[in-house]
């Protein structure tokens, strides 16, 4: 599947950016694909009971009491 220029421009504008220049579209494509690759590389939990780690995860794992 190709990430089209129009899709990139539409996403940017819909989320508050001015319409990107062609150079900005090219950079957005690179960075979008990088973020997507990292996101896809993270394994999904087969259990529905693994909650996201909280900000206070060290405390949740038994370190400290505050």
């Amino acid at each position: 599947m190709t990430l089209t220029d129009d899709a990139i421009i539409e996403h940017a504008v819909r989320h508050g950016l001015p319409a990107p220049t062609p150079e900005e579209v090219a950079q957005l494509r690179i960075l979008t694909l990088r973020a997507a690759a990292s996101g896809q590389a993270i394994p999904r939990q087969t259990s529905k009971w693994v909650e996201p780690a909280p900000v206070f995860q060290v405390r949740a794992l038994g370190g400290g009491t505050g």
Binding site: L17, R34, A36, G39, A41, I42, P52, G66
Partner: protein, 473 residues
């Protein structure tokens, strides 16, 4: 003379000051003289507050003469990464977005050091907002910091000025922040100690946030003993930081010199599938350090991290990009033309991360943290590489990015464990080598104890860069 003073162990300087044999004014002047002599080449500072530091030194001198010595940090000059807020003093985080920003509050860690009597010399260089893409783009309002061991080389970041200042002797110690390695990487690049404490041990209140669930503040020092002394002053619960954890106060100096006899050290040689290759000099340094610890009586056993390095890095990156974007979204949407390319690229990446990927990362983080904790609890501490490269020439763009990208630091931001980078020698070309010690949650004392034993045996911390004699490339 001034170089000898500014590189003196903190406890020794503190004893001399406490006994009246050394004036804080002399010590502050020695640091300011060194800054004046070499910081046009090091660029470790964005702002020096010399007059204020001298005034504080005179006050400290009078207090001590009157019998009100506050302890071994009283009269010791230090500096902070410029993402730490300082009331009435510009805090710009190396950004055009904040060039005129003067906060009206002071970071908790600075207030704690003030209470201990330490004297702030100024604000240290950093990557913009203390973050970025790993690249040095030379497009910020300040020139990047340079490595004191060779000023043509990169320091490591993002606490770039902190690494340069401690190694170069323009501060006796420094404070930095670490989201994926930003204390440990400049420490590793510049050949000093960099300690990322357990997440929650040291307050981040009053420090410009980069990523709420990963940011940690901590010291860069020349020795483990110095780090123990500074951490003792920094640690402690702070209700102003929602992540701050209430744990019993620890005197990190108490067992510092107990040695390592009888300890079990888990040595990580293999970084797993997809792990970057380790530079041979760094591998040799790691093996030498393990051999020294064995000679001192530790049992060294080979272990492996429970997941590959990329598995940790993807989690760290997605969380970091997402939270950082959330923190700086308004700046990105309204004033991104003022951002340098490295920050703008990071924000743009965060702009594109899906919520589902962020939550998958936080779910996987819980799994990785538990597994990592099980490994760390199976031994007294881990020993593993910190960086997989030494600090490259600053104009070698790909190598500069690889220095950060291929480091072994982010697993312990993901897990929250205390981790320290420690010098293990030098390359034939004179650039510092490093390794990393990782401890159990809130067991910084063990990390420091192992580091102190190694430093006493190996002695690398006594080497000094000859920055004052080098020419700027």
């Amino acid at each position: 003379m001034s170089a000898d003073l500014v590189t003196m162990p903190l406890l020794e300087a503190g004893r001399l000051i406490g006994s009246g044999a050394l004036s804080p004014v002399t010590l502050v002047d020695a640091c300011l003289d060194r800054i004046a002599a070499i910081d046009d080449r090091l660029r470790s500072y964005l702002l020096v507050i010399g007059d204020q530091a001298r005034q504080q030194a005179r006050i400290a001198e009078r207090e001590i003469a009157a019998g009100r010595w506050r302890g071994p940090l009283h009269g010791i000059p230090y500096a902070v990464k410029d993402n730490h807020f300082t009331a009435g003093i510009r805090t710009c985080a190396a950004s055009r977005l904040m060039l005129d920003f003067v906060p009206d509050e002071t970071a908790t860690v600075i207030r704690r050091l003030e209470a201990a009597g330490a004297i702030l010399l100024g604000k240290l260089n950093t990557w913009e907002y203390g973050t970025g893409s790993g690249a040095v783009e030379f497009d910020l309002p300040f020139e990047p910091a340079r490595n004191p061991w060779n000023t043509a080389h990169f320091t490591g970041g993002s606490s770039s000025g902190a690494g340069a200042a401690v190694a170069g002797g323009t501060a006796m110690f420094a404070l930095g922040t670490d989201t994926g390695g930003s204390i440990r990487l400049p420490a590793a690049g510049c050949g000093v100690i960099g300690l990322k404490p357990t997440f929650g041990l040291v307050s981040r209140a009053g420090i410009l946030p980069n990523c709420w669930s990963l940011d940690v503040a901590g010291p860069l020092t020349r020795t483990a003993e110095d780090a123990a002394l500074v951490l003792r002053a920094l640690a402690g619960h702070d209700p102003a930081d929602p992540a701050s954890v209430e744990v019993a106060a620890v005197d990190y100096l108490h067992d510092l010199h107990r040695g390592v006899r009888g300890l079990t050290i888990g040595l990580v040689r293999d970084l797993g599938e997809g792990g970057p290759p380790l530079m041979p000099d760094l591998r040799a340094g790691l093996e030498r350090m393990a051999a020294v610890l064995e000679t001192l009586g530790a049992r060294v056993v080979e272990v492996r991290l429970p997941a590959s390095l990329p598995a940790y890095k993807h989690v760290n990156s997605i969380i970091n990009w997402s939270e950082s974007f959330s923190i700086h979204e308004v700046d990105f949407l309204e004033r991104r033309h003022l951002m340098g390319k490295a920050l703008r690229d990071k924000m743009t990446t965060g702009f594109t991360v899906r919520a589902a990927d962020y939550l998958a990362a936080q779910r996987q983080r819980r799994v990785l943290a538990r597994a990592t904790d099980a490994l760390v609890r199976s031994v007294d501490a881990l020993l593993l590489p910190c960086t997989t490269l030494t600090a490259p020439p600053i104009d070698a763009a790909e190598a500069v990015i690889a220095f950060t990208r291929d480091a072994v630091t982010s697993p312990f931001n993901v897990s929250g464990h205390p981790a320290m980078s420690i010098p293990t020698g030098f390359t034939a070309g004179g650039m510092p080598l490093n390794a990393q010690i990782v401890g159990r949650f809130f067991d910084e004392a063990m990390v420091l104890r192992i580091a102190a034993a190694y430093q006493a045996a190996a002695g690398w911390h006594t080497a000094r860069p000859s920055v004052s004699f080098r020419k700027q490339p």
